[in-house]
Structure formats: C-alpha cells, structure tokens
Symmetry: C2
Subunit: 202 residues, 2 copies
C-alpha cells in the first residue's frame, strides 16, 4: 500500500531533520492530520519566515531580527569581554547562567578538514578585525568552543592567529573538569585527567 502523497511529503520533510527517523516522522505526520488547518498554516508560515525575517548581526554574527542584535545593542552588557562560540544555539546555553553579561562572537562552525570546513569558512577574520576596530577596548576573548578535537584545533588556530596579528588581548577558555552531578566512578579518563590537571587549592 502506498501512503497518500500529501502525507508522504510531510513524512519526507520531517525525516530530513536531524534526529528524526522514519518512525518518528510517520508519527508526527499522522498526528498533524488531526490538527486544525490554522495551526498547520501557522507552522508553515513560521518555517517560510524563519530565514526571510532574520539576519546575521554584523558585529557578533548571531541570528537576529535587527542589526545590531539585542545583545550587541544592550547598554548593560560588558563589551570588554567577547565570548566566542561555534553556533548561535550555544549562546542560549551560556545566557541561561544569567550572571555573565558579556557579548558574543559566533564562528558558525569549527575547523573540520574532514568535512571540508576551513578557517576561512568561519568568522575568524571578522573576530580579529572586531578586536582591532572595536569602539570599546576588548580586553578578553573567552573561547567557549566544544571540548572535542575540532573545537580545540579551532581554539589553537584562533590563539595563533590573534597572537600573530600582535593582539595583546587576554585569551581564555572555559575550564575542563568534572560536570556537576557526575560520579568519579563513571567519569572517562580524559575528563579525569583534565580535572586532575586543573585541580585547585582550597
């Protein structure tokens, strides 16, 4: 039996999304059959408008409705500290801390030669320029990239690049160690090694 084509189209659309397999896509599509037409229309228009009604902030390259974005135009932010992240979604997680009112710089990826992402594909050059041309003196760059191979290679590259340009800015990275709630019994050896290396005195 072949499924009705309109149903199959919805299944196909969902299946293209990351983390949604054939079974979930089917379940979602059949669920939507019971949803009022207005809700389907509103879902549809949210999708068509997603890219049309957003821009990249020309300062921090975060996704935004306005340029500069709400963060860059917020007078209460400490603009001397720039936190560098891989993706806009990382900013969401950092903002949840609630206590760290700095500005951001979105690289839109990390150096990943296996997937053909080179330094020039990222907003690294723009970061260097931003440091030089900023109206506020930028004192610290906090590298908040994912603690994996590609993330660390990207950090190394940024540090080298900024130092080569003679920038005197302080460059830091997030601490590595045990996450809250972890148990030493189940921690992997790399995490434990880093936690030991970064141990602090009472």
């Amino acid at each position: 039996m072949k499924l009705a084509r309109p149903l199959q189209h919805v299944i196909d659309s969902f299946q293209r999304l990351p983390g949604i397999g054939p079974k979930s896509a089917q379940r979602l599509a059949f669920y939507l059959l019971h949803v009022p037409q207005e809700e389907l229309d509103s879902f549809a228009s949210s999708l068509t408008n997603l890219r049309k009604n957003t821009v990249e902030c020309s300062t921090c390259f975060n996704v935004s409705e306005t340029d500069p974005c709400v963060v860059c135009s917020d007078p209460k932010r400490d603009k001397t500290i720039v936190c560098v992240v891989e993706q806009p979604i990382d900013i969401l997680a950092l903002e949840k801390m609630g206590s760290f009112h700095v500005v951001y710089h979105v690289l839109h990826g990390r150096i990943d030669p296996l997937n053909n992402v080179r330094p020039d594909d990222l907003r690294i050059g723009q970061l260097a320029k931003r440091i030089t041309n900023s109206e506020y003196p930028i004192e610290e760059i906090v590298l908040a990239l994912n603690p994996d191979m590609e993330g660390e290679a990207t950090c190394m590259y940024i540090v080298k690049k900024l130092r080569a340009a003679g920038s005197p800015v302080r460059i830091t990275r997030l601490a590595y160690g045990l996450p809250t709630g972890a148990s030493i019994e189940f921690a992997d050896e790399i995490t434990l090694g880093r936690a030991m290396e970064g141990r602090r005195e009472y």
Copy 2:
C-alpha cells in the same frame, strides 16, 4: 536574552508536536536556519497541503488522496476480511507483513470515557452498516486494536454491538503472547499469563 521572534515561532511550532521537548525544538529550529529557503518552502507547503489534499475514504475511513482509497479500490484484495484498527498509522504496520491482503476499517480512536471519547465518536456504526450493505459478503472481522484497557473495552463493545444487530459475521482478534525476540525472564506477568492461556500444541 530573547530569541529572534521568527526563530521562537519555529521553536513553538515544533514544541507543540508530541514527543518533541523544548531542547529538541530548539535544536531543530537552529538547524533549519542553515537549510536553503526552497527546502523551508517545500516543508511549509507540505504542511498546508496535508489536510487540504487528503480525504477520508468513505468505505474504510483511512486517510487517502482518492475516495475510495487505494486499498478499497484494489481488485487484488480479499474483501471478505475486514481488519479493524484504531488509527490510520496502524494500517502501515499491518501492511508491512506483506502477506495479508485484506481491507481495513479505521475507527479513528477507541472508547475512552476518561478522555471523553464515546462509541458514537468512532466509526463503529459505519462498520455495522458496512457489514450489512457490502456488495461483497464480509465473512470475518479481525479486531486489531491495541492490547490495553481501552482497546479491549472497544473490542468488547464492537462484538456486543454486532451480535445485537444479529450479524452472523465471524469476529476474531489478534493473538496475545510473547513478541519475537522477547525473553521470558523480562516478560511481564500479564503477557506471560496470556501466552500460557493461548498455548498451542505441537
């Protein structure tokens, strides 16, 4: 920090779907920022057209592009056996067997007083009528409802209803027992009880 509204709309739309929590909705919305506009438009139109371009088959009440649906109009189907299911998605699972070429009847739910679903909300009356008025004599009704409280109460109701109408049709249900790959060690007592009750001789 507030998210850009177009992004928040997409997150809200995804979050309304079953099984998609706030984190997954965020991940999907941020993913879609990187997708070409044509793909967003095609996703959007698949949603608006889902209900507009589908109908319920007037014979079996399955979702379909045409009335009668592809199953009901298929001359190779054994129309003397009608398999009754709760939802259109159940037909997908049954069709995967590949060896059971019968026709279906979709109830669109099951009797569930706690959620205010009464027998009249389902296509039970239409099933009785279908048996009486069918051009092919219907010989067997296979009740393929979910093996839980509501599913079984609905089966009981259908059996009573058809018998009260004096229908001589054979009414069966799917077998209950151990699913393939299950281990007796971890099977629950109800499943084991049913497997024992339905034991078969070699």
